[in-house]
């Protein structure tokens, strides 16, 4: 490789004499106006040499010589423009036009409900895709699972002047929102807010951006009170925790009405057998209660979930004072790995993905020689099980195939969990 790039420094005459190659001429133009884009960065990869770099001249023209070998790929970029997709260069090709699209910009000022500049670091979500949310969708719009109409393109932070700016946006339709999750100073009744002044996407105003367009979108964060939800929490009897450990019970209300993380998770500690959460907006919530044994050092060492429960609840415009919860002992997740006929039994690492109020977390456990595997307990939520190793795995809970769907933990009644390895599709050792 180094020899090749050294050769490039030799007189061109010598190069031509030794390895006559093709040339490539191109012009970088603005995709909308057709005007030349001066001094764009140009890169040609492929062949046997290192990537070759070049710059377009004031007329947007670039030129490569001594191109040998069959397949090459051209890349072009220029500040303020969206980078080109990789452009395959056919061997016979000698000239081409490269259109670049100028990025659009959304910027603006964010104020809090008191009219003060929003605190530094609060998060702006850029959201795209104007399709309305299916009101029957059980999940919020932030989840990029295809059924949901919206998901964030990326995020940006508010600066010390309370302003944000997002550049290099591809032409299209966008929603802009201020999200509560990352703000340091944020009151309970302040809500994630869509541009210009909306709590949900149905009332939000989409921003349509053409190439190179700059649009100002100021947002004032909205304040809205909600209802109070409380209830009695019953926890099974337990032994006192070992030294250095403490036992806590929390109740979490996870909003499923999908207005961009508005009161996405409201958590309440349980004191004197009761919990209370305030200022919840109407909607469907998943209520998760969990009792954990954790170390007193606050680092979550040796923590274990002892009891839990999970249910759905509809919250309307009135306070609820009798949302009573009965926690149940949680089972450890255990099961067995089996091998289809003709497969050699091999060590299998069973993978488990837990998704609950703590977010999404991955675990793994090695199945023993008898195929048995065991995980600890989890906060009630959904678990997806898979396997790493030879062959493909199908996962059964009782008779039900849960390979793709996962299952709700804990199950109402104990059911056998089985990971069936089929090595027929290759990978058998």
């Amino acid at each position: 490789m180094r020899v090749c790039s050294f050769l490039l420094l030799l007189p061109a005459v010598l190069l031509r004499a030794q390895a006559p190659g093709g040339t490539l001429d191109g012009d970088v133009v603005d995709s909308v106006t057709g005007a030349p884009v001066a001094s764009a960065r140009v890169k040609l990869t492929g062949g046997k040499s290192d990537p070759r770099y070049n710059a377009a001249d004031a007329q947007g023209h670039f030129h490569f010589e001594n191109i040998s070998g069959a397949s090459h790929t051209l890349f072009v970029e220029h500040p303020g423009y969206l980078p080109s997709s990789p452009i395959p260069i056919a061997a016979a090709q000698s000239s081409l036009k490269v259109p670049l699209t100028q990025g659009a910009i959304v910027y603006g000022a964010v104020t809090d409900p008191n009219g003060l500049p929003a605190s530094t670091g609060a998060f702006i979500g850029r959201i795209f895709d104007p399709r309305p949310i299916d009101p029957r969708s059980p999940r919020g719009p932030l989840l990029p699972d295809g059924n949901n109409a919206l998901f964030p393109v990326s995020g940006m932070l508010i600066d010390d002047h309370g302003q944000y700016r997002s550049s290099l946006l591809a032409p299209g339709v966008y929603y802009v929102a201020v999200l509560s999750q990352h703000a340091v100073f944020w009151e309970r009744t302040w809500r994630s807010t869509y541009y210009p002044h909306a709590l949900d996407v149905a009332s939000a105003k989409p921003i349509s951006l053409a190439a190179g367009q700059q649009v100002r979108a100021d947002i004032q964060v909205m304040r809205q009170t909600g209802v109070r939800v409380s209830g009695r929490v019953a926890v099974p009897a337990y032994d006192p925790p070992p030294p250095g450990m403490q036992i806590f019970t929390h109740v979490h209300l996870v909003s499923r009405n999908g207005s961009l993380g508005n009161s996405d998770v409201t958590s309440s500690p349980v004191t004197a057998d009761r919990f209370e959460a305030s200022d919840l907006l109407p909607g469907t919530y998943t209520v998760v209660a969990e009792t954990q044994q954790v170390s007193t050092d606050g680092m979550g060492r040796k923590s274990k979930v002892l009891f839990g429960t999970r249910r759905q609840v509809e919250i309307g415009g009135r306070d609820i004072s009798d949302l009573d919860l009965q926690l149940q002992p949680l089972p450890e997740v255990t099961g067995r790995v089996t091998f289809a006929d003709g497969c050699d039994a091999a060590p299998v690492r069973v993978l488990l993905t837990s998704s609950s109020i703590g977010g999404i977390q991955d675990y793994s456990a090695l199945a023993g020689p008898d195929g048995a595997f065991a995980f600890s307990t989890f906060i009630p939520g959904s678990l997806v099980i898979g396997a790493a190793g030879p062959g493909s795995a199908t996962v059964f809970l009782g008779d039900r195939d849960i390979t793709r769907s996962g299952f709700d933990y804990p199950t109402p009644t104990p059911q056998e969990l089985r990971v069936a390895i089929n090595c027929a599709s290759g990978g058998a050792q």
Partner: protein, 451 residues
């Protein structure tokens, strides 16, 4: 609800409802700061926060002890504790907000074209495991499509700026990290001094491609199976790149000069038992390295023996030593009566060291504080270290009781009180005239305006 309470209770609750009044003041100009948010530790549930009025005034419900956090864009966060003696009339609280400093500029390439997506960090010298090292100080930002960057919320001080080309390095790996204005060696970097309330603009970088050297070699194995390779810089915090392999040979192009570790694990995920591992150090100069041989073998668990040393007259008492590589699988051990301990079953990777008092019969003993640690000949007092496949040596951990409290005055060159300064406890090797021993570990000490 209150009107339902019997009168004595009502009176008692009214008594408790006294208020604390305070003012928020700009530490440089002395002017009141309006629109500052006051957050208190008693408000965990997101109740409305007091905001200072045009005279900088705020009012809080009284408690015996209040931990305040005051925030206003353009100022540094301020934490303050208010402790009231029972029956004492609440004093008027003064909160001094220190204006932020900011540094801004551009990143251009050698042709003067803006560079977007380059990361610019404001760094300061910090003792890291016994070495004076430049480390990022909060400020960390990416250039926009115009090549502009701006780092704000900085405390006043001396900073060194670093740029990591990011997207430009993906485009062309010959662009590598630089210190302002165009240095690799920290001794050649130019510092940027900023005062509270000041913004230093025009700190522009011009990046030029550097050829660097090529490192090529082979894996020398004793087992079959795929391994990943990473090249990590010893000096450059940000430099850790995955290495592409073809069969058992590898080539890394455009490596800047410096000291590196070539190894089979990343900073984040260490190897598991039974996996193939290998690591070696590389001193990269100006010549290509063509015949690098990396030994690959099966990862073996190692035991780490060590001792707790108590810097005082009494015995150390049992301490719990925890080494944490995988967050969910910490390795903990309680030291013996003579302070010795053995942590078993360690694999290569990056470890965090945690040392705390082990309870005796369920009761934690009097405070003993971590002071420092040595692993073999290495100082690991920062409680984070990399362990390779070679035996690491013994781990010596020093602990002590807190013995000293320091008070003092900070004056500028003219002998006037220097307000709004952040004081950090430093180790003796960083600042010899001041040997602060056996202090509890605190992140920072704050010196209010004096004089």
């Amino acid at each position: 609800m209150k009107f339902l309470l019997p009168l004595p209770f009502l009176a008692a609750s009214l008594m408790a409802q006294t208020f604390i009044d305070g003012r928020v003041i700009d530490s440089v100009t002395g002017a009141p700061v309006s629109g500052a948010y006051i957050s208190v530790s008693q408000n965990l549930t997101g109740n409305p926060m007091p905001v200072t009025d045009s005279a900088g005034h705020f009012r809080l419900e009284s408690h015996d002890k209040i931990y305040l956090t005051v925030h206003h864009n353009g100022y540094l966060y301020r934490n303050q504790t208010i402790a009231l003696e029972p029956g004492q009339a609440p004093p008027e609280v003064r909160v001094l907000l220190v204006p932020q400093a900011a540094i801004s500029g551009h990143v251009f390439d050698e042709n003067g074209l803006p560079v977007r997506g380059a990361r610019v960090s404001a760094m300061q010298y910090t003792p890291v495991n016994g070495q004076r090292q430049l480390r990022p100080w909060r400020g960390d930002t990416e250039t926009n499509e115009l090549g502009e960057y701006r780092i704000f919320e900085l405390p006043a001080g001396r900073y060194y700026l670093s740029v990591t080309p990011g997207k430009l390095a993906e485009w062309d790996p010959r662009y590598s990290a630089r210190l302002y204005p165009d240095a690799v060696d920290p001794d050649r970097a130019e510092p940027v001094d900023v005062r509270a309330g000041e913004e230093r603009g025009g700190r522009d970088f011009r990046l030029t491609p550097q050829e660097g050297v090529t490192i090529a070699g082979r894996l020398a194995r004793t087992g079959a199976g795929h391994v990943s390779l990473y090249l990590r810089s010893v000096e450059y915090f940000d430099y850790s790149i995955p290495v592409a392999q073809q069969g058992d040979s590898f080539t890394i192009a455009h490596v800047p000069p410096g000291n590196y570790t070539l190894r089979t694990w990343s900073d984040f995920v260490g190897p598991k038992a039974g996996e193939l591992v290998g690591d070696m150090t590389l001193q990269v100069g100006t010549a290509d390295m063509r015949d690098v041989r990396l030994e690959i073998r099966t990862a073996e668990e190692q035991d780490l023996s060590g001792a707790i040393v108590f810097l005082g007259r009494t015995k150390p008492g049992p301490m719990e030593v925890t080494l944490r590589r995988d967050p969910r699988e910490p390795k903990s051990v309680v030291s013996n009566a003579d302070g010795s301990f053995v942590v078993k079953g360690l694999l290569p990777g990056r470890y965090l060291l945690d040392v705390r008092n082990a309870p005796v019969d369920g009761v934690p003993p009097a405070d003993r504080w971590f002071v420092g640690a040595q692993l073999g000949a290495r100082d690991v007092s920062e409680q984070s270290f990399d362990m390779g496949t070679a035996p690491p040596g013994a781990l010596k951990i020093s602990v002590a009781s807190p013995v000293a409290k320091l008070t003092g005055r900070l004056l500028d060159a003219a002998g006037s009180p220097a307000s709004g300064s952040l004081l950090r406890r430093v180790q003796e090797y960083e600042c010899r005239p001041f040997v602060f021993r056996h202090l509890p570990r605190l992140m920072s000490y704050y010196l209010p305006k004096m004089g």
